[in-house]
C-alpha cells in the first residue's frame, strides 16, 4: 500500500460518492455501528423530528417501545392530541441535552421533579410538557399524577429498551434560576408567566451540551447495560433565537455544537452511533429541495428520504429479517409521511411572536 487513501471505498471520495451521482441516488450515508433489527426494542425521544423515527419504526413493524400506552379505545387523532405515540413516553419534545438529562435524572431517581405548575383560567399546565394535555389538566394534583405516570413510563421504557434513539434539537434553553431546572419552552409562550428575575436564558456551549449528553447516556447505560444509543441532529432550523444574533447564524452555531457533541460521543463510546439526518436534509448537494417554502419546515419528501436512508443502511448492514423479505405479509411499503399531520412541535409556536410578514408561510 502506497498511502492510506488508495484502497478506500467509493463513498470516501466526493467525486464518486457525490459529484458523479444524481442527488437522490446518493447512498451509503450511514454505516450502522450498533445493531438495530426488528427484534431490537427501540425507544425514541427528542425534538420534533424524532417523532418521524417513532412513526417510521412503527409503520415498518419494528419493536418500537410504547412505554406509555394510550387507552385502547382512544381515537387515533386524540392519541396525537394528547401526546401519545409521539415518543416512547409522554414527555413531549425534549429539545436540549440538558432537558434530556433532567428527565432521565427524574426517571432513574437521581433527582425529584419540582412541584411547579402553571395555571391559566382554572386549568393547570405541566411546565415540563406544557402542550401535552390540550386545555390543561383539571387540577394541580392531576398534573402531578400525570407527570409521575410519565416518569414511571420513562423508567420502564429505559428498562425494556435495547436502543435509545435521540434527536438533538436545540442549544438555547430557559431555566428557573433559583430552582435550577429547565423548561422545554420559555415560560409565557404556551402557558406560565415569564419573569426576568426568575427565568434565565442560556445559549449552551459545546461543553454544556456535551457534558449533559454524556451524563444522560452514562445514567441510562448504568441502569441498562444492554442499551445502545443512536443520536441524530434535527435538520430543522431554529424557529426563533433569543441570543441576539441573526436566527440563521444561531441555527448554524446550534447545529454545529449539537453535531460536534454527538460526534465526540460516537468516537468515545462504542455503544453510541450517529445517524446523519441533519446532513441528508441540509447538505448543499440537495440544493434545499427538502425544505418547504419557508426554508425551515422539512417536506414529506425530505422526511421520507431520511427514513429511506435509515432503513436501507440497516438492511445493507445485516441479513434481512423475515418481515422484510419480498412477498411477506408485513413487507408492504410504509405510507408516505405527511409532516404537517404527523408532527406536533411546540417550538414552532414561537413564530407566532415574531413580526407579521405578508409572505409568511404557515407551518
Amino acid at each position: 500500500m502506497k498511502h492510506p487513501y488508495q484502497n478506500l471505498p467509493a463513498k470516501a471520495f466526493w467525486r464518486t460518492a457525490v459529484a458523479n451521482k444524481e442527488m437522490l441516488s446518493i447512498s451509503d450515508l450511514w454505516s450502522p455501528k450498533i445493531e438495530l433489527n426488528k427484534k431490537t426494542r427501540i425507544a425514541t425521544f427528542g425534538s420534533c423530528f424524532a417523532q418521524h423515527f417513532g412513526k417510521a419504526l412503527r409503520d415498518r413493524n419494528y419493536a418500537w417501545v410504547d412505554g406509555e400506552i394510550a387507552p385502547q379505545v382512544m381515537a387515533e387523532e386524540d392519541r396525537k392530541r394528547f401526546g401519545y405515540e409521539m415518543f416512547s413516553a409522554r414527555t413531549g419534545n425534549i429539545y436540549t441535552t440538558s432537558l434530556l438529562k433532567q428527565w432521565i435524572s427524574w426517571a432513574l431517581g437521581y433527582s425529584d421533579p419540582p412541584d411547579e405548575v402553571w395555571e391559566i383560567d382554572g386549568r393547570f399546565y405541566d411546565p415540563f410538557r406544557p402542550n401535552i394535555e390540550p386545555n390543561g389538566f383539571e387540577s394541580v394534583a392531576e398534573v402531578m399524577k400525570s407527570r409521575n405516570v410519565t416518569i414511571n413510563a420513562l423508567n420502564n421504557t429505559l428498562r425494556r429498551a435495547n436502543a435509545f434513539v435521540f434527536t438533538l434539537g436545540l442549544t438555547e434553553s430557559w431555566s428557573h434560576s433559583l430552582g435550577n431546572y429547565e423548561y422545554p419552552m420559555c415560560p409565557g409562550t404556551i402557558a406560565g408567566k415569564y419573569s426576568e428575575e426568575v427565568h434565565k436564558f442560556e445559549a449552551q456551549s459545546f461543553t454544556t451540551v456535551y457534558e449533559n449528553l454524556r451524563e444522560s447516556i452514562a445514567m441510562m447505560h448504568s441502569f441498562n447495560r444492554n442499551l445502545s444509543f443512536l443520536l441524530t441532529v434535527s435538520p430543522v432550523p431554529l424557529t426563533a433565537t433569543y441570543s441576539g444574533k441573526h436566527v440563521l447564524v444561531s441555527t448554524s452555531a446550534s447545529k454545529a455544537i449539537l453535531r460536534a457533541a454527538a460526534e465526540t460521543l460516537v468516537q468515545d463510546l462504542d455503544y453510541v452511533d450517529y445517524f446523519p439526518s441533519f446532513e441528508i436534509i441540509n447538505s448543499p448537494v440537495f440544493q434545499g429541495r427538502f425544505f418547504g417554502k419557508n426554508m425551515r419546515s422539512v417536506t414529506s419528501e425530505g422526511v421520507s428520504f431520511v427514513m429511506k436512508n435509515f432503513f436501507e443502511a440497516r438492511k445493507a448492514n445485516q441479513m434481512p429479517s423475515p418481515d422484510l423479505e419480498v412477498g411477506k405479509k408485513h413487507s408492504a411499503a410504509p405510507k408516505p409521511i405527511n409532516l404537517k399531520e404527523e408532527v406536533l412541535c411546540e417550538e414552532e409556536l414561537l413564530s407566532a411572536f415574531g413580526p407579521v410578514d405578508q409572505d409568511d408561510e404557515k407551518i
Binding site: P71, F137, E142
Partner: protein
C-alpha cells in the same frame, strides 16, 4: 288538565317501558306516552323534514308503526310532545384506568363513545327541527344468574354527570342513569329480578296478545320500565294519583320461577 305528552323512541329495550307503562298508566291520567318502537339499529332510520319540521323514518315498517301509534301519516310533530325519551340506544362504556389517565383523556374517550352510540345521531336529527327536552336511557346493565358480580360502579355517576354537563351542555339533552333500585349495589349490574319476565318486542302485537318471554338476561322486564317511567315523571313533579304497588314490582326475595309467575300475575 293539560296533558304531559312523551314521545318514547327505542329499539328492543323500549319493551320494558312500553309494557310497564300499560300497567301504571292509570295512575298517571295526565300523562300520555306515544311509543315509537323499532328494531336493532333503527335509530338511524330517522330524518328531519325541515319543510314541515317533522321527524320521519325511511323504513316502511317503522313508518307503519308510527302511523298506528301516533297517526299523521307517520310524520312525528315533536311540538305535540313535552319530552322525547330515547330508550336503550347507548351501551355503557368499558371505562379506563384513572390511575394512568387524565380526566380529559377520559372525557375524550367517553364523549366519542357516546357520539358513536346508536342513539346519538337521532338526537342531532331531532335538534334540526326541535328543542324538545331529550332524555336518553342506557341499555340496561346485564344481570348475572350465577350470583357473581360484574364491574364496580365507581365513577359511573361522575361519568354521567360529565356527559350531561359537558358534552350535552346547553343542548337540553340528558342521559338518565339506570334507576338505582334496579342495580346491584356498587355494581354495574342489574338485579336479577328485573330480568325475569322480560319480553320480546311489542312492536305490533295482536290485540290482547303479549309478546313472548325472552328471559335472555339482556332485556329487563316491565317492572323496570314502570319504575323508570315513574322516576322520570317524578323529575317533572308528576306523581301517581293512586298507589300502584299492586303492580308486580320485583322484590328480590323470590326464586326465578316465583318471579316469573309474579311478573305475569294479573295478565
Amino acid at each position: 288538565m293539560k296533558k304531559f305528552n312523551i314521545c318514547m323512541i327505542g329499539a328492543s329495550h323500549i319493551t320494558s317501558f312500553d309494557l310497564g307503562w300499560r300497567e301504571i298508566s292509570h295512575a298517571f291520567p295526565q300523562v300520555n306516552i306515544t311509543a315509537v318502537p323499532g328494531g336493532g339499529s333503527f335509530y338511524n332510520e330517522f330524518y328531519s323534514d325541515l319543510a314541515d319540521k317533522t321527524l320521519k323514518v325511511k323504513n316502511a315498517v317503522t313508518n307503519h308503526r308510527i302511523m298506528k301509534n301516533y297517526g299523521n301519516n307517520g310524520a312525528i310533530d315533536l311540538s305535540d310532545f313535552d319530552l322525547c325519551l330515547v330508550t336503550g340506544g347507548i351501551k355503557w362504556w368499558a371505562g379506563i384506568d384513572l390511575r394512568l389517565y387524565s380526566l380529559q383523556v377520559r372525557d375524550s374517550i367517553l364523549f366519542e363513545h357516546i357520539k358513536a352510540s346508536l342513539a346519538f345521531p337521532l338526537t342531532e336529527v331531532i335538534r334540526q327541527i326541535s328543542n324538545i327536552p331529550i332524555y336518553l336511557t342506557l341499555a340496561p346493565f346485564t344481570p348475572r344468574r350465577d350470583g357473581s358480580f360484574g364491574r364496580s360502579s365507581v365513577g359511573y355517576s361522575e361519568d354521567i354527570y360529565r356527559i350531561n354537563s359537558r358534552l350535552f351542555k346547553g343542548k337540553n339533552i340528558e342521559i338518565l342513569p339506570q334507576i338505582e333500585e334496579s342495580m346491584v349495589k356498587g355494581m354495574l349490574q342489574s338485579k336479577l329480578e328485573y330480568a325475569v319476565g322480560e319480553r320480546s318486542h311489542p312492536a305490533n302485537p295482536a290485540e290482547g296478545e303479549l309478546p313472548a318471554i325472552l328471559d335472555d338476561l339482556v332485556h329487563l322486564n316491565p317492572a323496570f320500565g314502570a319504575r323508570f317511567l315513574a322516576h322520570i315523571l317524578e323529575k317533572h313533579a308528576i306523581y301517581p294519583t293512586e298507589d300502584f304497588s299492586g303492580f308486580p314490582l320485583a322484590t328480590g326475595h323470590m326464586s326465578l320461577a316465583e318471579k316469573e309467575t309474579h311478573c305475569l300475575k294479573g295478565k
